[in-house]
Amino acid sequence: MSSVPSISPVLPAPGSRVPDIAFKWVAGLAAAMIVVLIVLVGWQLYAGSRLSLAKFGPGFLWSSEWDPVQDKYGALPFIFGTLVSSLLGLLIAVPLGVATALFLTELAPLRLRQPIIMAIEMLAAVPSVIFGLWGIFILIPWLRDHLFVWLKHNLGFLPLFQGPIYGVSMLAAGIIIAIMILPIVTSISREILRSVPNLQREAAYALGATRWEVLKIAVLSYARRGLFGAAILGLGRALGETMAVTMVIGNRPVISASLFAPGYTLASVIANEFTEATTELYLSSLFELGLVLLVVAILVNAAAQLMVRGMTGSGPIKVS
């Protein structure tokens, strides 16, 4: 060793595996942190809701009563509100987002693309509370006086569009959620569509397909799995959306078939009532709502993963 003093003792010998191993550990630690974080959040929510779990048991999930005065709590209307408002948001945002992404990757003139992409990214930067205020003062009056009246007049035979119109409603919440998840759905869809190999398109054109047929056969069906994934990421955002939804949903824990009726979501009731919850059981029940929200999010994601697995699509080509 002493015969080779030129090698610095600080630097690893050439070919040393130290950096490799260090990097592997750092990266692994970062990944592990996320798992640990989720577990800790789940544990804290569980610990906080023990009192409520012991008192109400599983009945908490299907009880519709939420009465802080009597100290009786149930989660059903909130679960219903969370799922319905999120699904409404998805139903509106996914077709819009995918269509926008298609336009941007396949149809738009090149110099239009960047400005539109920037505009969409700006939408993602608007704070939730701004959407809420805009919802209260601009969107809701318009919905109440125009869209809802039109829906009631033309589609009023459906239970979905019956009952009194307040403006604040499940549908208003769905629309606000749609606007808020549109950026993420659009930008992920755009990335997915961009990753469709040009060979696909060229092959379809070579077979004499029209532009629409190319989009349908070569692009959309190839990217189907990825697009579904984009929708799921959007859904994840929708489930937890709080402030803007609280401001437009009407905050009433009822289960109604009508989309004009007010509703309430898990995230909203926690945000609304946490600060002034003074009894132990009340606080514990709010924690349990948080736990329910976490479980709902996990279940929805797991279901989506299963659906993706059952789908054909991108990956080694299999165009139907």
């Binding site: 209260i136 403006g167 003074t278």
Partner: protein, 339 residues
């Protein structure tokens, strides 16, 4: 959850005070709780910094629930609450915990009617409206009290607070006193199970809904209604007079209220002839025996200042100051604090 939460807060507090310790010896007194009196408390702390620059107050308006929790676990030097603590919560205090009333406020009943007429309502009618049993503005229960205003044949849309709040506590406390039906079906609390209507978040959420929907009715803080020039109803008090909510009529209500020795009182529907009936006070929560001598001394000095000079700042921010007799009683209690 909360105990460990408090530990984190204590740690955070320790870090903050470490930072403060490096500055020239300035004492930091921490408080947390009610949101309703936050504007007046901030004003007090700012003004008091000129009186005694050696002490600095840090107040977090995290809500009454958090204020009660934190003073019980002693992670703050004083708490604040918009509702009196329940016997159950008070029993958890390690030592005697004092309620000190500071200022009062009122709830007003705001509405949106074509032509914006001035209207009068009594308690049972307000109860029936919020229970959803009176559903039209032309209902004889309303029209009978307002012979001068022409009541339209319009559906009533009830708007209430969706977030837990002292405002809701005062309103439901009042309705529980004047409407047996309300007491039996709903009761009082910072959040209740509303039998009718839609929920708006905060004063701005409720007033936003009311302003937009013709026929809507809601309740908001007097200060908010005044600052935003909203219309509100005169309410019949227990002496049978219709009273316009003002700072004076709220102070009247405080003077007329029956206040027990522990200061945990409700001032809704008091007997006074000029008292506005839907009003309430807010409290500071302070231990009768202070652990830290220096902090305790500074806190007592501040409280004395608040009850003498501080009260005078209240009307400027649309809070009702306490009547002199109550200030005297509260000061006696402050003087009894040991440190």
């Amino acid at each position: 959850m909360l105990p460990s939460n408090s530990k984190w807060l204590a740690l955070l507090g320790a870090i903050v005070s470490l930072g403060a310790a490096s500055a020239p010896a300035q004492m930091l007194i921490n408080g947390a709780g009610a949101t309703f009196p936050f504007p007046i408390y901030s004003k007090w702390f700012n003004e008091y910094a000129k009186v005694d620059p050696s002490v600095r107050f840090n107040y977090q308006s995290i809500g009454s629930g958090g204020g009660q929790k934190q003073i019980l676990s002693e992670t703050v030097d004083f708490g604040a609450s918009d509702g009196p603590m329940s016997d159950e919560n008070l029993a958890k205090a390690p030592r005697k915990l004092l309620h000190l009333p500071t200022v009062a406020g009122a709830d007003v009943v705001t509405y949106n009617l074509p032509g914006n007429p001035a209207i009068k309502l009594d308690g049972p009618t307000i109860g029936a409206i919020f229970l959803g049993t009176v559903t039209k503005w032309s209902d004889p229960a309303i029209a009978g009290q307002n012979p001068d205003a022409k009541m339209p044949d319009l559906d009533i849309v009830v708007v209430h607070r969706s977030d837990g709040s002292g405002t809701t506590y005062i309103f439901t406390d009042y309705l529980s006193k004047v409407s047996p039906d309300w007491k039996a079906k709903v009761g009082k609390g910072t959040s209740v199970s509303w039998p009718a209507g839609i929920g708006g978040k905060g004063n701005e959420g409720v007033s936003g809904q009311v302003k937009q929907v013709p026929g809507a009715i809601g309740y908001i803080e007097l200060a908010y209604a005044k600052q935003n020039k909203l219309s509100y109803a005169d309410v019949k008090n227990s002496a049978g007079n219709y009273i316009t909510p003002t700072i004076d009529s709220v102070t009247e209500a405080l003077a007329a209220a029956d206040i027990p020795d522990d200061f945990r009182f409700s001032m809704t529907n008091p007997p006074g002839a000029l008292a506005y009936p839907i009003s309430g006070t807010t409290w500071l929560l302070v231990y009768a025996e202070q652990k830290d001598h220096d902090k305790g001394e500074k806190l007592v000095q501040f409280l004395k200042w608040a009850y003498s000079d501080g009260e005078k700042l209240a009307p400027g921010l649309d809070y009702a100051p306490l009547p002199d007799a109550l200030v005297k009683r509260a000061l006696e209690r402050v003087q009894s604090i040991k440190y």
